[in-house]
């Protein structure tokens, strides 16, 4: 047994105070296995020690909430005895080290979170951040991540129906890979990770345990520096085939009346699953490592308890049901072993070859980790970011050029190259495929569908984390509403830098406040989530990226709406007000090479009225299409409505009112609470009346017509044409930009 030295403690990322707390809890010095178990459970990744005090502020309840944060995933009622179970997870650090396997195992992890709850996963979405594509290294990471997600998700037969990708060099050394998963469960058949019932058997099943991923949780709680390469042996390889068997076996076990509780072995593997299940039930667990299925000889208790080998589960069965459980696992060719039992003493006791190798109160490991109220304070550079003198930026001269440049910037360009690699149709539920504001998936056996979107504009969050977070919530909800769905729940993945820095902590705290205010106004509860800190390399931190995954309910599949123009002759209406909102815009970045200014103005009441109005218009059958204005403003929204239909394009002739605004703000400004809709001429008046009744400004700005996109601006009776392009040219730039950047060496 190695002596517990200061070095050893530091290597385990534990502070002196934290170590002393461990000694207090145990009433003695820990042995090496115990030290390892504490270190993973008390890591930032598992214990949320810097974030917990703030996360508590988020609204997590509501009439539809069946399960809020604290379990493997959240669950929200969708009536008919069903609920949707969803969550989002990050796999940022592993994906930087090994893009394919990092992303693949990220998908594996989030899928397990969903099916451990008794839900069959029916949709995945991926939200990605990379450095710009001109660098071969960034391209390599992006390609690897996309094929990793494809490799795992496709094999599992869970469709990846949407997502988001943004490119910015700030993510070059810290790419973000966030994956969202949603499943469907019977409301009265939700399973939880609890070790209830003293004497009940604890059963291990899935893959064998190997030496892979030891210390993954501590790695995810550490910044990168140039020695990170040496941390490489912690890379895990995913096995989606075994996961598919695990999924089917779990759902079969749950169909029958065999289980008390179940939890997947994610970060911190056997340690976290056992102590968390015990702690939730107020019980203990006794484990015998001698019978744990292993891949390699000679593994120590330390290695077995800390291994993060993938595709493994722990279940607590009803006493006497062991054999039935084992039979189901064997049917699906999985390794399985009864590895312990539930005890009354609240202790996680680990045995190996008849000897006690660890003995720790389960609750101390799982719940009594350190909590920090880290200091926070806005950085000195914050004002420099927001103070932007627009007089120094010349107004636009070449509207056509700017529009084309925006359409082919990879952040806005079509993501077809990505989503064609994902099976987005398996399970035959996908009503709206990738390419519209949100993905829509019908629920078989009902007349309902759910819409899903992932959103976050991290540049807004950098410029003003409070506003940025509010804007992200608003945009996510708006994307759902434009698809005909009422928002019912939210999950988040909060990607930030090092929380021990007061400026980063300030970003985090402000973002939480923003999310809280917006969610309360929209009455959308946050039911699950994940925090990823330490996204920082050599002191350079990512933009604050509080990624949101929002879920909406479409109570009648007939209300489903898409963003593309449908028929020649339809009127185009712009809902909402255009202001001079250039700060933080994609236009400023792409055309003016500036990431500065204040993010767009957002009034939550105005936004809510707009969303209620759009939803009501859709349900009234009054719309042909609806598309929200986001990156690139109304000009890009119009272009997308012309070219994003699958298999056809439409032209449009539009005149926008300029008022006292700059031309670039009219075309490309990112004013919030705006939606471009198209309507049949016969329904124009009804739509305008409807909008007025909601207090939402509505302007008929043009018509779906021809095969060009023509945008003019009107000012005091004079009209000037700023954009006039064949739709085929817009399509070509937008649809193939991705391939072009990839092939450009």
């Amino acid at each position: 047994m190695p002596l517990i030295t200061k070095d050893l403690i530091a290597q385990h990322n534990l502070t002196g105070d934290e170590y002393n707390k461990i000694v207090d809890i145990l009433g003695r010095e820990p042995n090496i296995t115990e030290l390892g178990m504490f270190s993973v459970m008390w890591s930032e990744h598992c214990s949320y020690k810097s974030s917990r005090v703030h996360l508590k502020k988020l609204p997590t309840t509501g009439p539809r909430v069946v399960q809020g944060p604290g379990e493997n995933a959240g669950a929200v009622d969708i009536d008919d005895g069903l609920c949707v179970v969803f969550k989002m997870e990050s796999h940022n650090h592993p994906s930087f080290i090994e893009p394919y396997q990092g992303a693949a195992t990220g998908v594996g992890g989030i899928l397990r979170d969903i099916f451990t709850m008794g839900a069959r996963p029916i949709a995945l979405l991926d939200s990605l951040r990379f450095g710009e594509l001109h660098s071969p290294k960034n391209r390599h990471i992006m390609k690897g991540v996309v094929s990793g997600i494809a490799g795992y998700g496709n094999c599992m037969g869970v469709p990846t129906v949407g997502g988001e990708i943004v490119f910015n060099d700030i993510y070059a050394l810290n790419p973000l890979v966030n994956v969202f998963c949603l499943g469907i469960a019977k409301k009265d058949k939700i399973f939880r990770g609890t070790a209830a019932g003293v004497g009940n058997p604890v059963i291990y099943f899935g893959s064998k345990t190997g030496r892979d991923g030891i210390h993954g949780a501590t790695m995810a709680s550490d910044s990168f520096d140039d020695t990170s390469e040496q941390k490489r042996p912690t890379v895990q390889v995913g096995d989606p085939f075994t996961e598919k068997l695990l999924l089917e076996a779990c759902l079969e076990l749950m169909e029958r009346d065999l289980l008390v509780g179940i939890q997947d072995m994610g970060a911190a593997g056997l340690t976290s699953s056992s102590c968390e299940m015990a702690s939730r039930a107020g019980n203990g667990i006794e484990l015998d490592l001698t019978v744990v299925p292993r891949r390699e000889p000679g593994m120590t208790p330390y290695e077995i308890m800390l291994s993060e080998s993938q595709e493994r589960m722990l279940m607590v069965a009803k006493a006497g049901k062991e054999d039935e459980c084992i039979a189901v696992c064997r049917k699906w060719d999985l390794d399985v072993a009864v590895v312990g039992k539930v005890t009354a003493d609240g202790i996680l006791r680990v045995m190996d070859q008849g000897m006690v190798v660890a003995e720790i109160p389960a609750k101390a490991l799982a719940d009594d980790g350190p909590r920090y109220e880290r200091p926070y304070q806005p950085p000195a550079y914050q004002d420099m970011l927001t103070n932007l003198n627009y007089d120094l930026i010349p107004d636009i001269k070449d509207g056509n050029g700017a529009l084309l440049a925006l359409l082919e910037s990879p952040t806005i360009a079509s993501k077809r190259w990505v989503y064609e690699q994902y099976d987005h149709m398996v399970r035959t539920n996908t009503m709206v495929r990738p390419g519209s504001d949100s993905a829509v998936v019908r629920i078989k056996g009902t007349n309902k569908a759910v819409a899903m979107t992932v959103d976050c504009n991290s540049r807004y969050c950098l410029l003003n984390p409070y506003e940025g977070a509010r804007l992200a919530v608003a945009e996510a909800a708006r994307n759902l509403v434009c698809s005909g769905a009422a928002p019912i729940g939210l999950t988040d993945c909060l990607n930030f830098g090092n929380p021990e820095r007061s400026d980063i902590m300030w970003q985090f705290v402000m973002a939480i406040e923003g999310m809280k205010d917006a969610c309360e106004r929209f009455q959308v509860p946050i039911v699950s989530g994940n925090v990823s800190f330490y996204n920082e390399t050599n002191g350079l931190s990512i933009y604050p990226t509080p990624m949101l995954g929002m879920v909406g309910l479409i109570e009648d599949v007939g209300w489903t709406m898409t963003q593309w123009f449908k028929s020649e002759g339809d009127d185009i209406i712009l809902l909402g007000t255009t202001r001079e909102d250039l700060g933080g815009s994609e236009y400023l970045k792409v055309v003016q090479a500036r990431e500065q200014g204040s993010p767009p103005y957002l009034n939550l009441d105005v936004e809510k009225a707009l969303q209620d109005c759009v939803l009501s218009l859709i349900r009234g059958g009054l719309l042909q299409s609806a598309h929200d204005c986001s990156d690139g403003g109304v000009a890009v929204a119009l272009a997308e409505s012309c070219i994003s239909g699958s298999g056809w394009t439409r032209g449009a002739v539009v005149t926008l009112t300029k008022g006292r605004l700059r031309d670039d703000a009219v075309l490309f400004g990112e004013s919030q609470s705006r939606v471009v809709i198209s309507v049949k001429p016969s329904q124009r008046q009804a739509v305008l009346d409807h909008a007025r009744s909601f207090g939402v400004p509505a302007d008929v700005i043009g018509m779906v017509s021809g095969d060009r996109l023509v945008i003019s601006v009107r000012h005091e009776g004079a009209e000037e044409c700023l954009i006039d392009q064949p739709v085929s040219e817009l399509l070509d730039r937008w649809a193939y930009a991705f391939e072009r950047s990839l092939n450009h060496v």
């Binding site: 094929s147 494809a150 490799g151 496709n154 094999c155 599992m156 037969g157 096995d239 989606p240 085939f241 075994t242 598919k244 068997l245 699906w332 060719d333 989503y419 064609e420 690699q421 994902y422 099976d423 987005h424 149709m425 398996v426 399970r427 035959t428 539920n429 996908t430 009503m431 019908r442 078989k444 599949v557 699958s646 298999g647």
Partner: protein, 237 residues
């Protein structure tokens, strides 16, 4: 009718096929576990898409040794209808029930999108409600769909009208631009000499409901049901 859908470890379009047969077309479905040795009582067999055994060696290579495949061979030999979709097609090739083999897509990527296919033979039990030359828009979703066979076998397939579907453009031209994976001769699906075993890479089960966009795939399942009904009628006479 009672249609069997075989479930291999790693099948993932099994539910989708069952949904079409049962919920859309109103027939009975029996899920057949891959260790099953008998197919008694079933009118036709579907081998669904997915990644049997993870497709870790070659697509379909391990699944073909599943006990059920002996029964499928017998069933096909007795003239029963066997329909392999995507991974099911790959398994039929590995099992030798259809001729040829699958290579990686030319692009080396998994590809999921709608493609057009042209009906080359409308006289099979799986295409009998369609017209020769008719064009369907059907999704594909695979990484190994580049059909290959040697020139002699290809000539034989062509001569016997065993090439059932070819990838084509929206207006029906089987040109290289319309070939999504590098398949020899734009082949999207073939049948055996007797016509009772069919394999195709596109997924007709993904387009049988207007709610999901298009219904082009429905005709293939309807053909299969109609052929079975005719056979039953003939047997009853």
């Amino acid at each position: 009718m009672n249609i069997g859908v075989v479930v291999f470890p790693g099948s993932n379009c099994d539910h989708d096929c069952a949904h079409v047969v049962k919920d859309v077309l109103g027939h009975d479905v029996t899920m057949v576990w891959h260790k099953e040795a008998s197919l008694a009582g079933l009118d036709a067999i579907i081998l669904p898409g997915g990644f049997s055994y993870g497709d870790y060696l070659r697509t379909g290579a391990i699944a073909r040794f599943s006990p059920v495949m002996q029964a499928v061979k017998q069933f096909a030999g007795d003239g029963g209808l066997v329909f392999g979709i995507c991974n099911g097609f790959q398994i039929l090739l590995e099992a030798g029930l259809l001729l040829g083999a699958m290579l990686r897509n030319r692009s080396l990527h998994f590809v999921c999108k709608d493609v057009y296919v042209r009906i080359e033979n409308a006289a099979t039990p799986f295409t009998c409600v369609l017209k020769p030359g008719q064009i369907l828009r059907i999704p594909i979703a695979h990484a190994d769909g580049s059909y290959y066979t040697d020139p002699v076998t290809l000539a034989g397939l062509q001569a016997n009208a065993q090439v059932t579907f070819r990838y084509c453009t929206a207006d029906g031209k089987a040109v290289p631009e319309a070939n999504p994976n590098g398949s020899l001769d734009n082949i999207a699906g073939i049948c055996n000499a007797e016509g009772n075993v069919l394999g195709m890479m596109p997924h007709p089960e993904r387009c049988v409901e207007a709610l999901l966009g298009r219904e082009d795939g429905r005709a293939i399942f309807q053909s299969m049901i109609m052929s079975l009904e005719r056979k039953k009628l003939a047997a009853a006479r």
